[in-house]
Amino acid sequence: MSLSTIYLVDYYANSLDSPMHRASVTVKMISTIMALGCIILNTSLLSLVLQLFLIIGFQAASRLPIRRLLLWAIYPTFFGALFALSQAQYSIELSVQTLLRAVDAALLMLLLINTTPYAKIIPLIRKFSKTISNLAFFSYRFFFLFIDESEKRLTAFRVRGGLLGPLGTKIRNIAKLIGLLFVSYIESGEEVYHAVKTRGYRGMFSTETVAGREMTRNDYVPILLALFSVVILVVGIVGRGLS
């Protein structure tokens, strides 16, 4: 996971517009959990392929760059492939299923985070824990505060040959780089803390969570995703039963 990936995800979630982007966060989260459950329980090869096309279809409908999302899914696919390889001696079908399950789940999560701004997920977390939601909120703010400085220093570090030389030198250079970043991050964090404290922050934000609202037409998009996933799962179960 590179810094630019997180930047791009944030951009896609905040700047693109589609019914999936406009749908309620709660509905999207519940639908994603349902779809993920269907993927985990799915043991039919054909169903998993159908599920893959379903998710890619929803990504395309959400105007997301499919090729880039597939590239981002390579990392989990790689680990899924290891599972698949280890199962190939028992059953080729089982190994392909494992691989597809890993890819489907990764692409599903990418669909969720590329259509849902992180800042909108935080009020949902707040319903379960204010401490965790505050932590998530501040870490989100800090991450984007830090990301620019980190990229600049990383580039300078590479240009100056920080990764050259024997491992010992590399480690010493990296430790200095991280130390430098670390101290500046902590100082930024303290500045933010003093700023919010002067505005009345006492460990909790006084603002309420996003108020519940009526279902909109947009909310039917993630619901459709969940429903189609259930249908695909059922078709897979029935298909296996018949065969």
Binding site: P76, T98, I132, F143, I147
Partner: protein, 226 residues
């Protein structure tokens, strides 16, 4: 070290158990940290730091977590909350499955917990000079990471899955052994543990040097006599 198992592979009872245990621990931690808003801000900084440092290339197929340092900086209770948030963000990017968040929180927290307690004990015994604090941080990190490597092996053994499926210390393409399909738990340990331990040495060196640097430029961040 954390587990890189995609969704839908581990037995349901195991990842559900991981979630139950981590939810209980986090709920307890939330009660313990009540009123510590300043440390909460530091925890948020550590979440961002953990996410950023994972992107820093080391030139070897391993990335650092700074989880032991997180434990040293935040203590045991804030660290588990910070680790849960970090793991959740990582899982949303496919860096470990969503179903593995609970288990990963336990594994990574074990590093923070051991790092914190060992660092505190060593400082009490040998003193708090810059050099000693730096060595204490490095040594605590080393022990913590080696422990977590064995914890991952234990989880893999308990799960009953093929051990090659849980490549913990970021075994990337270049470090993969051939013929992964026929590997037993013993072979898995022989293959994975040396890499995990080598990674632990790298991270402990970085943590030790980082603590020395921090004590030099901002000693208030790490308790030291210098």
């Amino acid at each position: 070290m954390h587990i890189h198992i995609p969704d839908g592979v581990l037995p349901v009872w195991l990842w559900v158990l991981g979630y139950i245990v981590s939810i209980i621990l986090v709920a307890f931690a939330i009660r313990r940290v009540r009123g510590e808003e300043r440390k909460g801000i530091l925890a948020a900084v550590m979440v961002a730091v953990m996410l950023v440092v994972q992107s820093i290339p080391l030139g070897v197929p391993y990335h650092i977590n700074l989880s032991a340092l997180t434990g040293i900086m935040l203590g045991p209770w804030w660290s588990i909350i910070a680790i849960l948030v970090t793991n959740a963000v990582q899982a949303s990017f496919g860096h470990g499955g969503v179903t593995i968040i609970g288990l990963n929180t336990i594994v990574v927290w074990s590093e923070a917990l051991i790092g914190y307690y060992l660092f505190t004990i060593i400082q009490k015994v040998v003193g708090r000079s810059r050099a000693k604090s730096s060595l204490a941080a490095g040594f605590s990190t080393l022990v913590a990471l080696i422990f977590s490597a064995f914890l991952v092996v234990g989880i893999v053994a308990v799960s009953g899955i093929d051990p090659t499926q849980a490549l913990g210390p970021h075994l990337h393409e270049q470090s993969l052994p051939g013929g992964v399909a026929q590997i037993s738990l013993e072979v898995f340990m022989i293959l994975v543990l040396p890499i995990a331990i080598a990674g632990a040495f790298i991270e402990s060196l970085i943590t030790g040097l980082l603590v020395a640097y921090v004590i030099r430029v901002k000693p208030s961040l790490v308790s030291s006599e210098d």
